[in-house]
């Protein structure tokens, strides 16, 4: 009797194991195929990247860039005198308007129209422009009485 139960158990186990093994085997085949496909895609992509890099290297070659630049750009090589260091930059140009002025844009326009406009490259006494700004700032509200 006990032998018969053992037989039954073993047969059931065998069937289950066979089914399980079949499933695993099938899954692994599918996975292996996917892997092979991805590998070949990877290889293809790597080859394309290498080909593109080679092509980029050819296009980016300094000799080619130089020839193109000489042909199409009016640029020349940089002379040593054209370099400067950051600490040799000139100071900020003097402030035109006071921070509390009511119409800063108007003041700037007013200053632009004056022929003696102070720019960054023309040094002017620092006090003069601020006085100008004061004078310019005063009449503006009058010119705009609605406010």
């Amino acid at each position: 009797m006990s032998l018969r139960i053992l037989n039954l158990v073993v047969i059931v186990a065998l069937v289950l194991a066979a089914a399980y093994v079949y499933r695993i085997k099938f899954d692994s085949t599918v996975q292996a195929e996917r892997l092979a496909k991805i590998r070949s895609e990877l290889r293809y992509e790597r080859d394309s990247i290498a080909a593109l890099r080679a092509e980029w290297g050819e296009l980016d070659n300094p000799a080619r860039i130089e020839a193109l630049a000489k042909r199409y750009l009016p640029l020349k090589s940089v002379a040593p005198t054209q370099f400067n260091s950051l600490d040799q930059l000139p100071d900020r140009p003097p402030q035109f308007i006071k921070p509390d002025s009511q119409d800063p844009i108007g003041v700037i326009i007013e200053n632009l129209e004056e022929p003696s406009t102070v720019t960054g490259s023309v040094s002017a006494p620092a006090a003069a422009p601020s006085e100008d700004a004061n004078e310019a700032a005063v009449p503006l509200p009058a010119a705009n009485p609605d406010r």
Binding site: A36, S40, R43, R46, D47, A50, A51, R53, A54, E55, W56, G57, E58, D60, N61, P62, A63, E66, S77, V78, A79, P80, T81, F83, S85
Partner: protein, 583 residues
């Protein structure tokens, strides 16, 4: 189990004949039922054992097999093996592998040879018909028909559907920069094996073994980064090509070497070749003159002579030597090119490039010391770098007084130019001789390799002399405002038919950049320059190699990150004064 105790008489209904057979087979007293049960039990055990062994093996496979993936070679895949990419110091591609299809035939599987020949020559016009027919008629299993065909050609041939004709994709080496870095990286043969330059070095360092094992088929190898900077290389080559055309010279060559690490940042030897077309490399005029050629460097060797004299302590910057008369040795007279006919101090010997003064300075130190000093600076032994091409210097077999005299001003000893640059770099960088390299190297690695050859004070004095020579000397035309160049010129008479030629010269210019805080050493070498209207009939270095050197510096200094500094004081204030302070 009780049945065993019973006798045969327990089966009374059995006919006598069967009882006889049973008695003969098993013996008359044994119970068959019990025996069968025992056998079944044994069989169960045996099967259980077999299955448990199988189960155990399965578990073992499941656990172990992960580590060992089976390498499947895809049909139609790489024959020529893969090589790692070569990059410059900033990561630009210098050499890479691209896949190209190649055409092969299997003559045994071919049905109609004539048809195949006809169709293939129609698609590939450069294929020789008779040779193709011969190959396809052979009895071999596999013949190459054409390596490296285009994708369109492959498509066309594929569409004809010829049996026994197929394609394999192969790795082919591509050099996107063409001739620009030719001598440096070298090239490969049809089977993608390195046969020159750094490509050969790669093969010598493990790649060949990988190829043999068939492992280097995939693009998984880490790229190799070189010390060369493609931009600097291009600027140097561009100037040298222009210089070679201008002076109608046989060749022009140049090196930029980092004095602190020994890295070769640029190396050009014009005429060069396109590594994509390696057949050009066979032309003997296209050799790499910087490593495979040996030359008498001329007056730039005086830098070594003066450095030796100063380092020995027997001579100081204030010492002077008699250059009033040509130096007479046996039947030879040593003349000065820029003869002053007076007593010259050491800086004057350097700036007037006085042969007599240099010879006297060398004699003051002694023949043996001279030889030992040049040996210490690596000028007498073959210089080996990563490049497989190297040349042995030509050293006189018996080194007498005359040899010391001539070698003092750079004649009678032929060295590879790269070797001389290495020596000059050691004179400039504080006195450490660092073997040059074509691979990237850090300062720490370099200082581990370097060995001291001269005192730091001597190096300081040498930099002063080099700068002085540009401020007021033979190298005045190299001055580029802001870069504080120092340099020594050299003009060597070429040997023609065993005699020094009066007209053919080899000029060179060794420059240090910048002279007060050296970072790079530059060599410009021009082989057999001709006169031009601007040179007033001169072919000496100061009229050709030196201005080229200045032009090169103006172009490469911004690329190398050297900041121009304006209004620097002259050499005797800047370098010499700081040298005295530090002492």
């Amino acid at each position: 189990m009780t049945a065993i105790a019973q006798t045969e008489s327990l089966q009374p209904g059995e006919p006598w004949r069967r009882r006889l057979v049973r008695g003969l087979l098993y013996g008359s007293k044994i119970d068959r039922g019990a025996k069968a049960r025992a056998r079944v039990g044994l069989a169960i055990l045996a099967f259980a054992a077999v299955y448990s062994i199988i189960a155990a093996r399965l578990v073992m496979f499941a656990v172990v097999s992960d580590g060992r993936t089976v390498h499947r070679v895809v049909a139609g895949d790489a024959i020529a093996t893969a090589r790692p990419d070569i990059l410059d110091r900033r990561g630009e591609v210098l050499a890479t592998d691209v896949r190209v299809p190649s055409l092969y035939g299997e003559p045994r599987r071919l049905i109609d040879v004539d048809e195949a020949v006809e169709l293939l020559t129609a698609d590939l016009p450069d294929l020789d018909a008779t040779e193709l027919r011969e190959r396809l008629s052979s009895k071999r299993g596999f013949v190459w028909l054409k390596r490296d065909i285009t994708a369109e050609q492959q498509r066309e041939i594929y569409r004809q559907g010829l049996p026994g004709i197929g394609f394999l994709s192969e790795n082919k080496r591509a050099y996107p920069n063409g001739a620009e870095v030719s001598h440096l990286i070298g090239h490969v043969n049809t089977d993608n094996q390195g046969i020159a330059g750094m490509e050969k070095w790669l093969d010598g360092h493990g790649l060949a073994a990988l190829h043999m094992a068939g492992l280097a088929t995939d693009r998984l190898q880490t790229p190799v980064q070189l010390a060369v900077d493609l931009r600097v290389q291009h600027a140097l080559r561009d100037e040298l090509v222009a210089a070679r055309a201008k002076f109608k010279a046989l060749a022009a060559a140049g090196i930029v070497l980092d004095v602190r690490t020994g890295e070769v940042v640029a190396m050009v030897s014009e005429p060069d070749y396109d590594p994509n077309n390696p057949r050009q490399a066979l032309d003997p005029t296209r050799i790499n003159r910087l490593t495979t050629g040996v030359y008498e460097m001329g007056s730039s060797f005086k830098a070594f002579t003066i450095a030796m004299a100063l380092d020995s302590g027997k001579v100081t910057l204030k010492s002077s030597f008699d250059a009033r008369m040509p130096l007479r040795f046996g039947k030879f007279d040593i003349h000065d090119f820029h003869a002053q006919h007076r007593v010259l101090t050491v800086p004057e010997i350097f700036t007037y490039s006085s042969n007599i003064g240099a010879a006297r300075a060398a004699l003051a130190v002694g023949i043996e010391a001279h030889k030992a000093f040049l040996k210490k600076l690596g000028q007498l032994d073959r210089l080996r770098t990563e490049l497989p091409e190297s040349a042995e210097p030509i050293v006189p077999k018996r080194w007498g007084e005359l040899n010391t005299i001539t070698i003092a001003f750079g004649h009678g000893l032929s060295v590879a130019p790269l070797q001389a640059v290495m020596g000059v770099a050691a004179l400039m960088n504080g006195g450490i001789l660092i073997p040059p390299t074509f691979l990237k190297r850090t300062e720490a690695e370099a200082s581990a390799l370097g060995k001291r050859v001269i005192k730091p004070e001597t190096s300081e004095m040498m930099r002063y002399l080099m700068r002085l020579n540009v401020e007021k000397g033979t190298a005045e035309k190299a001055e580029v405002k802001g870069y504080y160049i120092g340099g020594k010129t050299g003009t060597a008479d070429k040997v023609v038919n065993g005699h020094y030629s009066k007209t053919k010269v080899l000029t060179d210019f060794m420059a240090v950049l910048p002279a007060d805080q050296p970072r790079y050493v530059l060599l410009i070498m021009i082989d057999d320059p001709q006169t031009t209207p601007e040179t007033h009939g001169f072919t000496t270095s100061g009229w050709n190699a030196v201005p080229v050197g200045g032009a090169v510096v103006a172009r490469i200094a911004p690329l190398l990150g050297i900041e121009p500094r304006m209004d620097l004081p002259t050499a005797d204030h800047l370098i010499l004064a700081s040298a005295k302070e530090s002492r």
